[in-house]
Each structure stands twice: as structure tokens, then as C-alpha cells.
């Protein structure tokens, strides 16, 4: 059974440790909302969970091949159509059928439009639809609702809820209210690295 557990995790950006002592457990069907002011380290934490950077300390159980990541950028090719973009990711993840994903984010009418001609919010919806074709149980998303209008935010919440209903997990960093009252809120600012350890990464040797 898919679980995500982190124990006493510390994460660093640049040469500086930003968060430390992080711990939580996420069971299937649960979602975690990461909160914290600008620069508190949410992006850093998500990238570490996704395996893009090694943790500074502590361990991550689960994750790995189970996790799908969506960052600040959507990884869209402006010269490919909406459908082509999505099909590419479906093939990379070895799944098939992009129609449900298109439908979930109301992109079906735009399916043959080049991604470069979409508006900011439409691009974002396409980026989110990618999560559906990964077929992975854990979603790690960084400010997924940037540029989305209220209706699209609701679409997003509904999609996440459906994903959780199928036993999926989600870790979402956001500043706004997503309309997911059932999700746990995890405020990262409580775990800000203390002054000593703030420089305690590769700088350590020099102090």
C-alpha cells in the first residue's frame, strides 16, 4: 500500500538549510496542504520529496517511483498541440488515454490548439491535466492554482478529491484556499532551520 512518510527531514537550497525536523505521515486518501510565507521553503521541500535533490538529513519513505511532481513551470512545448503534449507524457509514463484528463480540466475544446497560444490559466490547466496521465498515486504540486480562475480552482479541487477517493495521496503547496477542507494543513514555517543549522550544509566545514 502506498504511503508517504518523512522522518526528521532537513532540506537545503543553494548552500543554506531552509527547513529541518520535518515529519509527517500520509496514508492513502489523505492530502497535505503546505503553507508558509514566501521564501519559507515549500518549493525546496517538494523538490526534495520528488527526488530532484537529496535531503540534507533524515529520510523519506515511499515516494520514489510512486510520486509525480508538478513545479512552477508546466513543461509544455508551445509548438505542440494540447493533445500532443499530453500524449507525450502519457507515453513516457506508460499509460494511455488522455481523454479523461482533458475532460477533467475542460480542455477538450482546446485539444488541437498549439500550447503556445493558450492563456496563462489555460496553460496551467494543461499542466495539471498531466498529473492525471502519470497514473502515479502520490501527487506533489507547487502552487497548482496560480493564474486559475475560481471555476478552474473548483475543477482542480474536484480532481484532487477524486484522486484521493481512489486511494491517492497529494502534497500541495499553496497560498490560497483550495476548497479542500478535508486536507491536513502543514505549516512549514514552524520548521524553519535555526540559525546554526541554517548554514549547516556544505558550509559546515568552513565554520
Amino acid at each position: 500500500m502506498t504511503m508517504l512518510e518523512i522522518r526528521d527531514l532537513a532540506v537545503a537550497r543553494g548552500a543554506a538549510c531552509v527547513l529541518e525536523g520535518l515529519a509527517f505521515t500520509l496514508a492513502p486518501g489523505q492530502a497535505l496542504i503546505l503553507r508558509g510565507p514566501n521564501g519559507s521553503g515549500k518549493t525546496t521541500l517538494l523538490r526534495t520529496l520528488a527526488g530532484l535533490q537529496p535531503p540534507q538529513a533524515g529520510e523519506i519513505l515511499g515516494g520514489g517511483e510512486e510520486i509525480a511532481y508538478a513545479g512552477h513551470s508546466d513543461g509544455l512545448k508551445s509548438m505542440l498541440t494540447v493533445a500532443e503534449n499530453l500524449t507525450f507524457w502519457a507515453e513516457i509514463y506508460g499509460t494511455r488515454g488522455i481523454d479523461p484528463a482533458l475532460a477533467a480540466f475542460e480542455l477538450t475544446p482546446l485539444r488541437d490548439r498549439l500550447a503556445g497560444t493558450l492563456s496563462a490559466g489555460q496553460k496551467r490547466r494543461l499542466g495539471l491535466a498531466r498529473m492525471l496521465v502519470t497514473g502515479r498515486p502520490i501527487w506533489a504540486m507547487d502552487e497548482p492554482t496560480v493564474s486559475l480562475d475560481a471555476a478552474s480552482v473548483e475543477l482542480f479541487a474536484a480532481t484532487v478529491r477524486a484522486h484521493l477517493g481512489q486511494g491517492g495521496l497529494a502534497v500541495i503547496a499553496t497560498h490560497i484556499d483550495l476548497g479542500l477542507p478535508e486536507a491536513h494543513v502543514f505549516d512549514v514555517s514552524r520548521f524553519a532551520a535555526r540559525a546554526q543549522s541554517a548554514a549547516a550544509t556544505s558550509d559546515e566545514a568552513f565554520l
Binding site: 548552500a15 540559525a195 556544505s202 568552513f206 565554520l207
Partner: protein, 244 residues
């Protein structure tokens, strides 16, 4: 007996190098001054090359150090990749400008020497060409260090470049040998070919080589210290910022 890895601690390294450096500077200066003065003023002219033979006291040591500096960087890069001692990464960084200067000296003195000997400043002789390629590798290595902000990634990436570059440098050497047969004389410092350089030239040359080696060591130690101090300064500033 203490492990040599202890000196991989930056602070320890600073303290030790502080003690060694003055000695090194003095020895290097002494060897260079003695060797060069001996070579310049008190050696006879060669019967074929005339007084230009005196250039050998700069050209050969610089050429040797140009190669050895790259070897040292290669070793330091390996140490960084395997054991992740910051001092070795910074030592590799510190050695590159020294190495590139040595290469430049070898090239410039060689070119100046070539004018009377071969009648041209430059010829695409395999050995000269290999040195030019080495020069390019140094340039690329230094440019990569300069282009990356995060010091640890810079160390990682330049180390890999150094490894890959070494393989290609060797490959280039074979390619160049194949491509053109040279004018340049072969290795003559090797022990079995004494006939090449007479003792009168040989002794001052050895002193000069010792001087170049010592100067290289002193410069690398000193520059490594500089790099360590810069890193330490940044680390402290970051900690201050984190406290604020």
C-alpha cells in the same frame, strides 16, 4: 600518525599552510633566483643554438608544470568526487590559473625560441599543438568554474569536466601525433638519454625545475587558502542573514 585527510579540514588546512607557506615562498624564490641567474649568466652558449639555449631554463620547467598542474587538478577532482573534501575541490580551482600561466609561459617562450631556431614563431608541431589544446582545456575549465554560482555544484561539474577532459586530452595527443610529424625535439630529461643535455645545462635546469615546482606549490597553497577564506566569509554572511 595522523591521517592526511585531517588536512582536508579547511581550518586545519589554513593553520598548517600558514606555517608552511613562508618557507615555501622563500625556497621557491631562492631556487628560481639561483637557477635563473646561474643559467642566464654562468652557462656557455650551445654550439648550434647559440645563446638561445638559455631559454630552456624557463621553457622546460614551465612546460613540465603545465602538465603536472593538470594532473594535480585531476587527482584533486577525483578526491572531491569520491571523498568530498572541500579543500581538494578548492585546490583544483586554485591550481587552474597557475597551470594556465605555466602553459602560457611555455607557449610564449617556445614561440620566441622558434623564431630563430625554426624560422617561424609557430608551427603545428604535435607537441606545440598538444599544448595549445591543453591551454583550451584550462580555459574551458576556468570558464565553467566562473559560470556557476553554487560552489558545490561548480565543484561537481568542473570535476567531471576535468575527468572527461583528461581522456579527450590524451586522445587529442594521439590524434595530433597522427596528424603531423614534428620539428620539436623529443623528451630529453629522461634518464636514458643523457647525451641530449650536457651537465653544464642540466644542473641549473634542475634547480630551475625545483624552483618552478616550489613556486607552484606555494601559489596553489596560497590560492587555496584564499578560496577557503572566501567560502568561509560567505558561509558566515549566510549564517548572519539566517539569524537576522
Amino acid at each position: 600518525m595522523a591521517s592526511i585527510w585531517e588536512y582536508a579540514n579547511p581550518v586545519k588546512f589554513l593553520r598548517t599552510s600558514e606555517k608552511v607557506l613562508p618557507v615555501l615562498w622563500v625556497l621557491a624564490g631562492a631556487c628560481l633566483v639561483i637557477g635563473l641567474i646561474w643559467g642566464f649568466f654562468f652557462t656557455p652558449d650551445d654550439y648550434r643554438q647559440g645563446s638561445t639555449v638559455k631559454i630552456i631554463y624557463l621553457h622546460v620547467p614551465a612546460a613540465l608544470m603545465a602538465i603536472n598542474a593538470w594532473l594535480m587538478m585531476l587527482v584533486a577532482s577525483l578526491i572531491w568526487l569520491v571523498r568530498r573534501h572541500h579543500v581538494s575541490a578548492l585546490a583544483a580551482k586554485a591550481a587552474a590559473p597557475v597551470g594556465v600561466t605555466m602553459t602560457l609561459i611555455a607557449l610564449v617562450t617556445g614561440a620566441i625560441w622558434g623564431q630563430p631556431m625554426w624560422g617561424t614563431w609557430w608551427a603545428w608541431d604535435p607537441r606545440l599543438t598538444s599544448f595549445l589544446i591543453l591551454f583550451l582545456f584550462y580555459l574551458g575549465y576556468m570558464a565553467l568554474w566562473a559560470a556557476i554560482e553554487d560552489p558545490d555544484s561548480a565543484a561537481d561539474l568542473t570535476s567531471v569536466l576535468c575527468l572527461v577532459g583528461s581522456v579527450f586530452a590524451v586522445l587529442s595527443r594521439y590524434a595530433v601525433l597522427f596528424w603531423n610529424q614534428g620539428l620539436h625535439q623529443g623528451a630529453s630529461l629522461s634518464l636514458d638519454k643523457e647525451e641530449n643535455v650536457a651537465d653544464v645545462f642540466y644542473l641549473p635546469l634542475l634547480v630551475c625545475i625545483a624552483g618552478f615546482v616550489l613556486l607552484f606549490l606555494a601559489l596553489v597553497l596560497y590560492r587555496t587558502g584564499t578560496e577557503i577564506r572566501l567560502r568561509r566569509t560567505q558561509a558566515l554572511i549566510r549564517r548572519e542573514a539566517a539569524r537576522a
